[in-house]
């Protein structure tokens, strides 16, 4: 019986003789393992960032009301009205703050002086409560006021990123900027949020009175309402009150209102990222499968090439089990080599993606161990058939093979 150290040495000496072949064979496994490690790391990192972002955005009192997106419903001009927040606040004691949002996801922002350089930004048309609901803080100036809303004031509050882009050396307060070719006066600048997700995607945000935003975007649609409850216990009450009031005020509307709390949003993010991870993981799994078949193919070639050698080893006293071990050992070594290459590439890739996206790569020891363990299992699974074919050759017949 061969001991483990001898087995490792003999396998190594055999594989070393065909270095190029060995490395090429491992590529499939390497890609699969790299894929699994990178996807899981990036996915988990991304999820952690999104969750911390959502948590930062609002307290546990946060909720929003929107049409039922799950049923494919979208807001139209009758779904919400500008007066809804005020009326809901008046009628429901459970609701503390409430704001309506008209969203312009991609608007052009530029300075009056240049008409070439424009910056894409998200425009939030809203009312004063939003600053409390979203936990935003001002670095300087003021936020939107009720008067701004009623008088369609041409004012805008910009985030720190936009302030830096547009006014790297000047004080932005009182300056004019063009949003969708409408001149607006900057009245406030938000504080820079530490490592904000919006920052890392280079998404800039600006806030205008909802009335003015609707004029600029040429729409009457309000995308959603968001608000806070007076207490955590009152949160379900706040949501159901809001929906009841909306249903009575917009009885002609055919859509359904859905209220979502922060916790539910977090759950949704978890669900979406885990679906994404599963899908991409499955693709990586297919790469592993293809890689495994490649290893099996090469091992079958090796068995054929080395038939005479197998006969000789049997003449020297190798038992069936010894031959099995040796060929299985080579298959496992190939897969393990692929696994290690894949691990290095995968971890490197995860770091590179994380660096580009500004989020921490979460590489868990378990992912790595699982990937390596899995590559060993692939080696055993796809090596078993070639190895047993090698082991079952009769010595005299194998020796006669040319």
């Amino acid at each position: 019986m061969m001991n483990f150290a001898d087995l490792v040495q003999i396998v190594w000496e055999n594989l070393r003789a065909h270095r190029l072949r060995a490395v090429l064979t491992t590529i499939g496994i390497a890609i699969g393992i790299a894929g699994v490690i990178a996807v899981v790391a990036v996915g988990q990192g991304g999820q952690a960032v999104i969750i911390s972002e959502i948590e930062k955005m609002g307290s546990s009192l946060y909720f929003d009301i929107s049409p039922d997106y799950m049923r494919g419903e979208t807001a139209d001009s009758n779904t919400f009205s500008i007066e809804d927040p005020t009326i809901i606040k008046e009628l429901s004691p459970a609701v503390d703050k409430m704001a309506a949002i008209t969203l312009g996801p991609m608007v052009d922002v530029r300075l009056p002086s240049s008409d070439k350089k424009t910056i894409m930004a998200s425009l939030y048309g809203t009312n004063p409560d939003l600053i409390h609901i979203m936990n935003l803080s001002l670095e300087k100036g003021r936020f939107i006021t009720d008067l701004d809303v009623t008088s369609h004031s041409r004012v805008v509050v910009i985030d720190a990123g936009l302030a830096e882009d547009l006014f790297p050396k000047e004080d932005p307060l009182g300056k004019k900027i063009f949003v969708q070719d409408t001149p607006l006066t900057v009245v406030g600048v938000l504080e820079k949020a530490p490592s904000s997700m919006m920052d890392m995607f280079n998404v800039r945000s600006l806030y205008s009175p909802i009335t003015q935003a609707q004029d600029m975007l040429n729409t009457k649609v309000i995308n959603q309402l968001c608000g806070t409850a007076v207490s955590e216990e009152a949160l379900p009450q706040a949501i159901s009150d809001s929906i009841k009031i909306l249903e009575s005020r917009h009885s002609s509307v055919s859509n359904h209102y859905v209220g979502t709390t922060l916790e539910e949003q977090l759950e949704m993010v978890g669900k979406v990222t885990s679906i994404l991870t599963t899908v991409i993981g499955a693709v990586a799994g297919i790469a592993l499968l293809v890689g495994g078949v490649g290893v099996m193919n090469i091992m079958l070639v090796a068995v054929t090439e080395r038939t005479r050698e197998i006969g000789l080893l049997k003449a020297l006293g190798a038992r069936r089990r010894d031959i099995m071990q040796q060929f299985l050992g080579e298959a496992v070594a190939l897969c393990l080599l692929g696994g290690l290459i894949g691990m290095v590439v995968g971890i490197g890739g995860a770091f590179a993606i994380a660096l580009a996206a500004h989020w921490p790569p979460l590489i868990s020891v378990w992912t790595v161990l699982l990937a390596i363990g899995f590559s060993v299992i692939i080696g055993i699974f796809f090596g078993l058939y070639p190895a047993s074919r090698a082991a079952s050759l009769s010595p005299a017949e194998a020796l006669r093979h040319l």
């Binding site: 019986m1 061969m2 001991n3 150290a5 001898d6 003999i10 000496e13 055999n14 070393r16 003789a17 005479r308 050698e309 006969g311 000789l312 080893l313 049997k314 003449a315 020297l316 006293g317 190798a318 038992r319 069936r320 089990r321 010894d322 009769s394 010595p395 005299a396 017949e397 020796l399």
Partner: protein, 224 residues
């Protein structure tokens, strides 16, 4: 030590059947040096491979060192080949990817000899055949004669009872052939049993007994 009775071997079946051996009886006592001669297709190589436990006869009895070989399992045969038998082939059959030392170590590895002892034993054997200075060379870096000497060292690794050699000088020039046969002669003098297949009378002349095969049968035997 070796005794066979009514040994036959048939390859294939029906019309395509080839009768390689048609009833062979032979006894080889311990320490004997036997050469088997015969034209190609006479069954001499098949006979050697049955004696070497590399394949099983179709019928007949085979006793090796007092054991009924036909009754042994495959793994028991592997053990027998490992510890009691040594092989030398015409084409050397060294492992091309491993160095000379590893080649000689192989039977010792299968025998479970610890690595220190194994290495020492392999070195000694290689020194005996005059290759103590070539331990780390790959087989392809050696001449034919040197390769065959490595193969002999390997055959002797577990100190076997019998050495089976199938045309050991068939791929060698005259000078190397003489060197190899010299080693066989030494082994014989040291009391080792040797069974050698050849078609060269010069080589057969080293043996104590020469057995002639034809059409799967022993037709003649000469003893020195």
């Amino acid at each position: 030590m070796i005794r066979v009775n009514g040994l036959t071997k048939v390859y294939g079946s029906g019309d395509a059947a080839v009768h390689a051996l048609r009833g062979v009886d032979l006894e080889i006592p311990e320490g004997d040096f036997v050469a088997i001669m015969g034209p190609s297709g006479s069954g001499k190589s098949t006979f050697l491979s049955i004696l070497g436990c590399l394949e099983r006869p179709s019928s007949g009895d085979y006793y090796l060192d007092g054991r009924d070989v036909n009754s042994l399992e495959d793994d028991e045969l592997a053990d027998l080949r490992n510890k009691k038998l040594g092989f030398v082939f015409q084409s050397f059959n060294l492992l091309p990817r491993h160095n000379v030392l590893r080649n000689v170590e192989m039977p010792l590895i299968y025998a479970g000899v610890p690595s220190d002892e194994r290495r020492k034993r392999a070195q000694e054997l290689l020194e005996q055949v005059g290759l103590g200075h070539r331990l780390t060379h790959k087989p392809a870096e050696l001449s034919g004669g040197e390769q065959q000497r490595v193969a002999i060292a390997r055959a002797l690794a577990n100190n076997p009872l019998v050495i089976f050699a199938d045309e050991p000088t068939g791929n060698l020039d005259t000078k190397s052939s003489l060197e190899i046969m010299e080693i066989f002669q030494q082994m014989h003098r040291a009391g080792r049993t040797i069974v050698l297949v050849t078609h060269e009378p010069d080589i057969a002349a080293y043996a104590r007994r020469v057995i002639h095969f034809r059409d799967g049968k022993i037709v003649r035997e000469e003893t020195k």
